[in-house]
Subunit: 343 residues, 4 copies
C-alpha cells in the first residue's frame, strides 16, 4: 500500500467522479486519500453513490480541507470555470489531471469565444497538455497538468486525426454526426435530462454550436497543417453510456481503413474492426476501449468512419487514469483492462 | 363548436396538464379556452410541449388572467397545497375537477397527519367528491368539485374494493406491492428522476409511508365498515407510463375472480381478464382502461390480484375527463375511447 | 354504421397490423370486417395483442376465408414477396393499400436488383401508385392499388424532395444519417431485436445497402429530372417508435427552410418548425405528424434538415389510412387527428 | 501463467457464458483454455460477442473437441437437460460448476415434478453441492460438482434463510414479490423478450408456478426443519440486469434486521444496509454484491425485506466463479472485487 500513488478526487459527487472511484477500486497502483464535494461535505461516498458503499473510502470533504501532503495526483472533476480557479490554488508541484473543459483550448481567444469569458489562469493553460493519450503520449508522460478532452471530441478525433495525418481524406468535407448517451450531461437535475424527457425518444442538440467543435478545429488543423472545420451535429440517445460518431468523409475507403489500422495497431485500447464492419456502443460499455470501423459508401470515393467509446470511461475518467498512469510512471494500461459489460 | 363545454386547465405545464390537452384534442364535447402556467405565462403550449404544437391552443397565461366567464369547467393540475388556495379563489358556481391530493381525504385530521399541514379550505373539502368514478358515479354526476384520486390509490382500490364489498377476502391480510412508471413523479427536475438515475434499475420508495395509504385506508374502511389498513410498498419502474399493483390476499381465488367480474361487468373502462391471466402495463398505455387479473396461489385460500392502468390517463387526466363528462351531462365515455398504444 | 367502409386487414398479427386496428378503432368512416393471420387463425385479436382486447373485432382467420363481398378496402400488412402473391389473388375490383415493399419500385430491374428476385406481378406493379401522400395525392385519389412507402424512405423523402424540386440544394451532396426505433424491424423473434441486444446501445446497420435507398433514388431522380443518389446510413435506436433523419445538404439555409415551409404550408400533417429549430421523435410519437426543422451549419452554404415521424404511424399504418381515406372519398384527415403521446 | 487454473466454458454463446469470460478476463488465477458453442463452432468469441473482441481467447469449438487434459475446471453454461447429459460424459476427476438447473434439486421426485422429466444422472445429482456459497461454503470447498442456484432463488434465499434459521419470522407467511431483468431469459430469440415487447412495460409471469419455487421450498424447509412454502410471484422488468425481491414477512422488524446483519457481517459480498433503508438494483449492476435492506411496516409485527443482486453476476456467473475459487483453493474473492457500474 505504501507505494501506491495517493489520489485526491475533487468533485467526487458527479458521474465522472464516481467513475474514477469505480476504476481506482481495482487499480493496483492508486489509492484514494481524499474525496471532495462541497455541498455534500461530511457525507460518506456510499450515501452519495450507494453502488460504492462496499469500498473503504475517505469521507467527502471540502476542497480546502484536503491536505496536499497526502496527495500525489489530483483528479479534478469540477464544473467548467470552477476548475481553473481551484487548480490555480493548488500547489504547483502536484500532478493534476483536469476533466473539465478549462484547459483544452490552447488559444485564449478561442477559449473566450466558445466559453463566453476570459480565461483566468493563462499560465496554467500554457502549461497544460491536451489529454488525447494516443496523440500526446510523450508530452503527457512529462506533464504536470493534463487537460482531459471532451468526450465527443475524443470520439471524433480518434476517427479523423489519422486520416488527416495520412492525407487520406478531403479536409474540407468532414461531417461528424454524433450520438451520445445521457450521462455526459451530468447529475445536476435539469428538465431536459429527466427520464420522461429522454426515454423513448431522440433529438439533436447544440447543432453546429457545440463547444467540442473548438477541440475538433484545434486538433484537426494542427494535424492537417492548415485550418480545418468539420460539420458537427450531436444527438442525445436514450441510454446512459456510449458515444457513436458516424463520420462522412471523401477519400478511398480502403486507404482510409488502412490508415486507421496502421495508426492504431500498437495502441492497447484502440480496436480497428475489419474493413466493412461497424461498431456498437454497447460493446465498449464500461471499458476503456474505442472501436473503429470503416465502411465504403455506394458512391465511389466516399466512406463512413464509425468510432465508439464509453463517454464516462474512455471519453473521460478512464482516459484520465490512462494519462495519470503515464504521469506516474506506471504501465499505462494499469487498472484499465476491465472488459466491457454486455448486456 | 358553440355548445362545447369551455375548459380551463390550471397548471398546464406539467405532465397531467399535457395529458388533458392530448385527450381533449379529440374530445367532441370540450374545447380549451384557457391554459395557465405561471412561470411560463406568455409562451405557447407548443413551446412547452412541442408534441402539441399542431393544435390551435390559447397562449399560456397566469391564473388571475383567466376570465371565469369563458369557463364552464376547470381542471386544476396544480401542486398539492397550491391547489386549495387557487380553488378557494375561484367562483363558487364553476365546476372543478382537481387533480391534486388536496381534496381526497375527508377527515381533516388525516389530511393534516399525512400532508404535514392543516387544510386551509375545509368547506371545499367537505363539498368535494372522491373521483373514483366507478364507485362515486352518482355523487360525481351532481358534484361541483371532484377530487381526482391518487394514481396508485386508484390502482389498488380497483383491485380491492369489490373484494371487501363482497366479503371475499380477509381485510387484515392485504398486501399491495405496487410498481409505477416515472411520469407520476412530475416534470420538476430532481436528481432521483433523471434518466441516468432511473433507467436500467429498480427500487422501492416511500416504503410503508406513501401518502396514498391514506386513500386506501379511507376507501377500504368505508367499504368494509370497519378499519382496514393494507401493507403498501410502491416501487419505481424504468418506464414512463403504467402502474401495476400485485395484491396478495387471502380468500377463495375463484370467488375473488367472480366478485371482480361481477362488479365490473358493466363498466366501460374496466376489463377483468379470464381467471388465471395477468395483465401488463404496456397493454393499457395511453388509454383509459384498467385491466384486472386474478391468479390462484399454490397455497390454498390465497390469490394474487393484478390491476394495471396508465397513471397519466386512467390514473389521472383520463379519470378527470371521465368525471368531467359526468358533471357536464355528456355520455361518460366521450373522448376516452382511444385504444392503448402498443408498442 | 351501415355506410362505413368495410375493411379487411391481411396480416394482422404484426405491429403495422395492430397499429391499423388501433387507428381504425376511433375512425368514424371505417369498420373492420376481417382480420387474417395464418399462423394464428382461430384466435382472437385480444389474444395476439392484449391491448386491443376491449374492441369488438372479428376472429383472426386465414386469407382464403375472407369473403371479398364483405370488403371495400384491403390493408395488406404481409411480408415482402408474400404480398405480391396474395394481392394477385384478390378480386381486381377491390381497393388495396399494401404496406409491404412489393409495389414501391416502378422499375422491375431495380426491384430485382434490391430484392434479389424477379417481380411476380408486373401488371399490379404497373398499376400501383407510390403512397407518399403529399406527393401523389391526386393519383392516390383515383388509385385502386397504393404501395405504402418504406418508413425510412418517407422520412428522407419529406426532407429532400421539396429541396430538389426547388433547386435549393446540390443533388450530388445529399447525406442522410437516419436513426430508427426497433418496431420497424417487426415482431418476428430475432437475436438482433431482443431487449438485451438493443437497450442501452446504438449502432448502424445495412450501411450503404439498405433497400430504402432504391426508393430514395427513384423519387429523388424523378423530382430532380436526372439521376440522384444519396449517401444513406440507418442506425438502430433503443426505443420503440420514431425515426429521425439528419440530412446534410449544400445550399443556402434560409432558402432551404423557405422551400420546405412553402411546400408544406397547406399540408395537414406536415409541420415545419421555425428556422433554427430541430424536432424530436418523442413529439410525434403515435401520431400521423411529421416535424421538419432546418438549421444552418457554421460553414456557409451548408445546412442540416431534420425530419421526424413515427415509423408505425406516419411511416406506415397512419400513412396507409391517409391514403385509404383519399381512395374512399373521405376527408383525408379522418381518424388521424390523434395528438402525439408524450411522455 | 503456468499455475493459473485452466478453465473450459461449455456453452459460451449465451449471456452467462459471456459473463464468465468478462469476469475471468481480469481474474488473476484463471485462464480460459476452451470455449464451446456447438452451433457456432469455428467462430471467434469476438464474432459472437463483439465486446470481448480485445481478448485473446480460444476459438469456439464443439464440446467433444475439448481435451480434458487442458482443463482443471469446467463451467457448464448449457441449457437445462442438456447439462446432465454433457456432464455425465465428462471425466469424473474434473471439477465442474454447473450453471443450469439440472443439479439443484436433491429429491429426484421433486426434480421430475418441476422439470417434467426423470433425472438421467442420479449419481451426479447425489454428488452435487448446492452452490449458494454463503450457506454451503465448506461443502463447496471440497466438492467436485457444484450446482449453481437459480438467480431468483439466490435472491430470495439470501433474504429469507437467516430469518428462518433465527426463528425471526413466521414460516407460513412468506410472500416473495420478485422483479427481474430480461437477461435472465437468455439469448435465444423469443417474441416475449423482444425489445418492443419488453421496453416501457411491466408484467408478472409464471405466477405461482416458477421453477425456482422448488429451490425455495428445498432450502427454506431444510433450514426451518419442517416444510415451508412461500408465495412467489416473479415479474419482468424493462432492464437488462438486476433482481429485486420484496419479501413480506411477519416478525419483529428490528429482530429481522439484526438476524440478517449478524448472519452476513463477515461475508465479503453481502451488504446489509442500515435499518430502514432499501436497496436498488442499479447499485449492484455488474458486480458480485448483494444488498439487503429491512423496513418496518406500519402494521406492528410485519416487515419488508429487500434483497437485490445482478442476475448474471452474483445470481449466476459471479457466483460460479466464487464457488470455483473455493474449489480451486484460491482466496474466495479473487477476481470478484469489481465495483458495480453506475450509471
Amino acid at each position: 500500500m505504501a507505494d501506491k500513488a495517493r489520489i485526491a478526487i475533487l468533485g467526487a459527487s458527479g458521474y465522472t467522479g464516481a467513475e474514477l472511484v469505480r476504476l481506482i477500486a481495482t487499480h493496483p497502483g492508486m489509492r484514494i486519500t481524499a474525496l471532495t464535494a462541497d455541498r455534500r461535505a461530511g457525507e460518506s461516498m456510499g450515501a452519495v453513490f450507494p453502488h460504492l458503499r462496499h469500498l473503504d473510502l475517505p469521507t467527502l470533504c471540502r476542497i480546502e480541507d484536503v491536505n496536499p501532503d497526502d496527495v500525489d495526483l489530483y483528479f479534478c472533476a469540477l464544473p467548467h470555470a470552477t476548475s481553473q480557479e481551484v487548480i490555480s490554488a493548488l500547489p504547483r508541484d502536484r500532478k493534476i489531471v483536469d476533466l473539465s473543459a478549462d484547459f483544452r483550448l490552447r488559444d485564449p481567444q478561442v477559449y473566450a469565444e466558445w466559453y463566453g469569458r476570459a480565461h483566468s489562469a493563462l499560465d496554467l493553460q500554457e502549461e497544460a497538455v491536451y489529454g488525447l493519450t494516443e496523440f500526446y503520449r510523450d508530452e503527457i508522460r512529462g506533464a504536470r497538468l493534463v487537460a482531459g478532452t471532451g468526450c465527443n471530441a475524443a470520439t471524433g478525433n480518434y476517427a479523423v486525426l489519422p486520416l488527416l495525418a495520412a492525407g487520406a481524406i478531403d479536409p474540407d468535407e468532414i461531417i461528424i454526426d454524433l450520438k451520445t448517451g445521457v450521462s455526459g450531461a451530468g447529475r445536476a437535475p435539469k428538465e431536459g435530462t429527466l427520464f420522461a424527457e429522454v426515454s423513448e425518444g431522440f433529438h439533436a442538440y447544440n447543432i453546429a454550436r457545440h463547444r467540442h467543435i473548438a477541440e475538433f478545429e484545434q486538433e484537426f488543423s494542427k494535424v492537417a497543417g492548415r485550418p480545418v472545420t468539420p460539420t458537427f451535429v450531436p444527438h442525445l440517445l436514450p441510454q446512459n453510456r456510449g458515444i457513436l460518431a458516424t463520420v462522412y468523409v471523401k477519400g478511398e475507403p480502403a486507404a482510409i481503413h488502412a490508415a486507421l489500422a496502421a495508426r492504431y495497431q500498437d495502441e492497447p485500447f484502440m480496436v480497428v474492426l475489419p474493413f466493412g464492419e461497424a461498431p456498437a456502443t454497447r460493446h465498449v460499455r464500461g471499458s476503456n476501449f474505442c472501436h473503429i470501423g470503416v465502411v465504403a459508401d455506394r458512391r465511389p470515393g466516399r466512406a463512413m468512419v464509425f468510432a465508439t467509446l464509453d463517454n464516462l470511461t474512455k471519453g473521460s475518467s478512464g482516459q484520465a487514469i490512462h494519462n495519470a498512469n503515464l504521469m506516474l510512471g506506471l504501465p499505462e494500461t494499469t487498472g484499465l483492462d476491465l472488459a466491457p459489460m454486455f448486456p
